[in-house]
């Protein structure tokens, strides 16, 4: 295990690549797409140095397929793309969940329009993914490593929801391996060794143990076990959240990812002027920190939600607030010709004005 020097100026994509390798990731497959591309570039350069494999897959479908195959052998594996590429991967993501294979998937998204895709999933069947949304490069270094840990612990895909800013911001960070304790033994993983033993291993979305009879798969039993595993995972993972000034806030602003940094700055600036505002930043989008949002809304007159889309996370906020107070949408598309959500919308003065409107 190589440990990085204490602090380096790193582009987000490189820091994420280093964090994946520090977490033990030894297989990566990807297909270029802005703003995800540089993660692939860095993995292609760095993985062979630690005897890992990076595949330049011929499509996103193949990228996730390759990562799935590697992960099924117990190798820590990851793939990723940008939202559009994630759309192509949905079918596999659904099946990987039912096959109970750990996998880390990065979405270096364009703006925040992929919130539903990430948290609801666009695939078929009854499954959920854990979703982590870092605010900056330093947090991404931690969350990427946590993603591998959670993925192995729950044998389920974990999504890291980033964006253009995360991929392309250069920040001073220290990438060091975080030890979460020993991972559970991957006694389910394939290496061929159980062939002919009378109980050869099976990694399949249709079942995880061979019945070896003429009856075929008992899908009802398998789907029930998967559903129980999903419930245990969602209840077993403590939601991650960051809050500020919520104890006496009249208005609580909820935001995640990069925009949350701007929201935080706007809230602080309003506080300096004596306004009673606070913020809640969900770090894990699944499980959603509903209790923290509800607690923050308890004494508030209103909750405001800022996100770079037409309003997606606001559904989860409303479910958390449960009518305690009105929930206002103050976000929207941060329009620019690139479509990457890099626009004047992410501007402290603009955000201040929108929060003040809610304050009345």
């Amino acid at each position: 295990m190589t440990t990085a020097p204490a602090r380096q100026l790193l582009e987000g994509s490189e820091a994420i690549a280093d964090a994946m390798i520090a977490a033990g990731c030894r297989f990566f497959a990807g297909y270029p797409m802005t703003p995800f591309t540089e993660v692939l570039e860095y993995m292609a350069a760095k993985l062979p140095e630690v005897d890992g494999v990076c595949m330049n897959a011929e499509s996103e479908l193949e990228a996730i397929g390759m990562a799935w195959g590697a992960a099924a052998t117990g190798t820590l594996a990851a793939t990723g793309s940008t939202g559009q590429g994630l759309s192509l991967m949905q079918e596999s993501l659904a099946e990987i969940s039912l096959a109970r294979v750990p996998l880390v998937v990065l979405n270096m998204a364009r703006a925040q329009g992929d919130y539903f895709q990430a948290t609801r999933g666009g695939g078929h069947g009854d499954y959920r993914h854990l979703v982590l949304a870092p605010m900056d490069v330093a947090e991404a270094v931690e969350l990427v490593q946590l993603a591998f840990h959670l993925s192995s612990q729950w044998r389920n895909p974990v999504l890291v929801f980033g964006d253009y800013y995360l991929a392309h911001t250069t920040q001073s960070v220290a990438v060091e391996a975080i030890h979460f304790g020993p991972p559970p033994a991957a006694d389910w993983a394939l290496d061929g060794s159980t062939g002919g033993s009378g109980n050869a291993r099976l990694v399949s979305p249709l079942g995880t143990g061979k019945q070896r009879d003429a009856a075929g798969y008992d899908l009802a039993q398998h789907y029930l076990a998967c559903a129980q595993g999903t419930t245990e995972m969602l209840e077993g993972v403590t939601p991650l959240v960051d809050t500020g000034f919520v104890d006496d806030a009249d208005v609580v602003v909820v935001a995640f990812g990069t925009p949350a940094r701007y929201v935080r700055a706007a809230v602080r600036s309003l506080r300096d002027d004596g306004a009673k505002v606070g913020w809640v930043r969900p770090i894990s989008l699944v499980p959603f920190p509903a209790e923290a949002v509800a607690a923050a809304a308890e004494g508030a007159r209103a909750v405001a939600v800022y996100e770079n889309n037409q309003g997606q996370m606001i559904d989860d906020v409303r479910l958390a607030v449960l009518g305690r107070c009105p929930v206002h949408f103050i976000g929207g598309l941060s329009l620019d010709s690139s479509g990457f959500g890099i626009a004047p919308d992410l501007d402290v003065a603009t955000l201040r004005a929108r929060i003040e409107e809610v304050l009345g």
């Binding site: 030894r26 297989f27 497959a29 494999v53 595949m55 897959a57 011929e58 499509s59 479908l61 193949e62 996730i64 397929g65 390759m66 990562a67 799935w68 195959g69 590697a70 992960a71 099924a72 052998t73 190798t75 594996a77 079918e91 596999s92 099946e95 096959a99 394939l190 290496d191 061929g192 060794s193 159980t194 062939g195 002919g196 033993s197 009378g198 109980n199 050869a200 291993r201 099976l202 990694v203 399949s204 979305p205 249709l206 079942g207 061979k210 019945q211 070896r212 009879d213 003429a214 075929g216 798969y217």
Partner: protein, 267 residues
């Protein structure tokens, strides 16, 4: 014993002098003997058995991973004693690639049908071949989507009746069949490409030799190896079971011709 042209011929006009007895059990270790869920007359079980025999004969049963696609043969993934990674329709070559790259000492092969490999997954298998991926892909080609009840695939030959080409496949309306082995043989990364069949004992034996050579090629690290196996599907062809071997030869086999298309060892 009667002799004809140097061969011992067992007379069948009189009862045998002694009852039949088991000389040896040739069941490969990875095969579970018992019922399977496929139709009578299906060619897939014997193709599957041939692959498992080859694995056993090469003494690699404890480092073999089978990657199954989606089709009738998927039923075998549950009750064969080989390690199985179940893929999505068409995607087995990618999963096999990931598994093999992560564990280079394993022997990895895919089992896919023509619908799975040529319709849904053509890009996957072509790229795996072009990369010279050290995996073996096996295509069970019966010219129809058997599991859904006999519909046209990309390998269905002209004139062949299927549930969605009731008057036979016509080029003008349905295009032409893809001869996948011929396509793959042109790719630099493909080390061994062969097309066998299981419609008679001679073809079964030949197919077994092809499978052995394909796995040997993988073990030698020569590149991508590919065996297409023509299999009977009396249910999906809507014919009597006993007619299916002849039907295979007449229809599928006359277009997708049997033989070794490429072998780098013979260069």
């Amino acid at each position: 014993m009667e002799r004809r042209e140097g061969h011992v011929v067992v007379p069948t006009s009189v009862p045998p002098s002694e009852p039949a007895r088991l000389v040896d059990d040739f069941t490969p270790l990875l095969l579970d003997v018992g019922e399977h869920q496929l139709c009578p007359g299906c060619g897939e079980p014997v193709a599957m058995r041939s692959a498992l025999e080859a694995i056993a004969e090469l003494d690699v049963i404890q480092r073999t991973i089978a990657v199954f696609g989606i089709g009738c043969y998927t039923a075998f993934s549950n009750n064969l004693d080989v390690e199985v990674l179940q893929a999505l329709h068409g995607r087995a070559p990618s999963l096999a690639t990931g598994a093999k790259r992560a564990k280079p000492n394993t022997v990895v092969f895919t089992v896919q049908g023509d619908g799975d490999m040529v319709n849904e997954g053509l890009q996957e298998v072509l790229h795996a071949a072009a990369r010279g991926e050290r995996i073996t892909c096996i295509m069970l080609n019966n010219g129809v989507f058997g599991e859904t009840g006999g519909h046209m695939t990309a390998t269905t030959v002209l004139g062949q009746r299927t549930k969605n080409t009731l008057d036979g496949r016509e080029a003008e309306a349905h295009g032409y069949p893809i001869m996948l082995s011929n396509l793959i043989a042109q790719l630099e990364g493909a080390a061994y490409v062969a097309r066998g069949a299981v419609n008679n004992a001679g073809n079964v034996a030949r197919t077994k030799r092809m499978l052995l050579r394909a796995f040997e090629s993988q073990l030698a690290g020569e590149g991508f190896s590919f065996v297409e196996i023509l299999t009977m599907c009396p249910t999906g062809w809507f014919i009597e079971t006993q007619e299916s071997p002849g039907y295979l030869a007449e229809h599928l086999g006359s277009v997708h011709t049997v033989g070794v298309l490429k072998d780098v060892a013979l260069r």
